[in-house]
Amino acid sequence: MSVGLTAVLVVSAILFAAGAFAIIARRSAVVMLIGTQLMFVAGGVAFVAFARFGLGAVHATAGPAVALFAGAIAVGELAVGAAIAVILYRESHNFFLDAERG
């Protein structure tokens, strides 16, 4: 019994797909923001996985460093998105993003 690159990459793909679903199919701004975060997280997991199990082990510090930077970018994007969501809510008193808003 072992765990390697494949298992972690599969999870990374599932996280990315869940994030993409949240952005495409859901209409709540909050859930969309969560979806973007999941997509960033998925990328970071893949970088760490390749640094630990794959060819990235040649430069083992690059993968975790990219994961750290991607996480920070995600947090910054979340802050901006939260500010936009607050303005959105002030306008229409809900988080829904669709043409029915008028």
Partner: protein, 206 residues
């Protein structure tokens, strides 16, 4: 020297993790992380979605504990999880409110899944308690600190500025007084209180 042919590369790649408790731990964390991530994008209640997302980030930190340098685990758990969850909770508090809605966020069929998740979480707890920590399972721990302060120093400085700005925004969001306006609840699919009634004709959930 690694070659482009796939066959020689197999012997040259780092070995997979084979220690049974660590393997169990990683698989349990992976399964729970997938479940919580899918829950966060599927559930109808915003507060539950944020809670599931926060648990996803915390489980990701546990995964990094096993396959990444310790500093990545610490930053993920203490900084990214905290600021992300805080921003989303502050957003909800500032707008629709954190009131607990009477509607159940789940279907009853989800209770069985929740029971399975609880069992996996208990397994993680048993493995963590039974394993002699610290266990050196990551291969890239040596040199990350040096790399961050030498090769990636500009990136680290940029990250610090970004995180500081995000933390400042979090503080302002949480410190802002709760607006005294009528609330429309925390549900992402509750349309009955909306001022415009056009969406009810569609009959679809969000």
């Amino acid at each position: 020297m690694l070659e482009s042919d796939a066959v020689p590369l197999i012997g040259g790649l780092p070995a997979a993790i084979t220690s049974p408790p660590i393997v169990l731990f990683i698989y349990a964390v992976l399964v729970l992380m997938v479940v919580s991530a899918v829950t966060s994008v599927m559930v109808r209640n915003t507060l539950w979605a944020i809670g599931s997302f926060a648990s996803t980030m915390a489980l990701l930190a546990l995964l990094y504990l096993a396959i990444a340098p310790f500093v990545v685990f610490a930053v993920q758990l203490l900084v990214y999880t905290t600021i992300s969850a805080g921003l989303l909770l502050g957003l909800l508090r500032r707008t629709s409110g954190l009131d607990w809605t009477a509607d159940s966020p789940f279907n009853r069929q989800w209770l069985a899944g929740a029971a399975v998740c609880a069992a996996l979480l208990a397994l993680i707890g048993v493995v963590v308690a039974a394993t002699s920590w610290p266990v050196r399972v990551s291969g890239g721990e040596v040199g990350l600190g040096d790399a961050l302060t030498t090769t990636y120093v500009v990136g680290v400085a940029t990250v610090v500025v970004l995180l500081a700005a995000s933390a400042l925004g979090l503080g302002l969001l949480l410190a802002a007084p709760t607006p005294a306006i009528p609330r429309w609840g925390g549900s992402t699919t509750s349309r009955r209180d909306l001022p415009r009634g056009g969406s009810r004709a569609r009959g679809e959930t969000r």
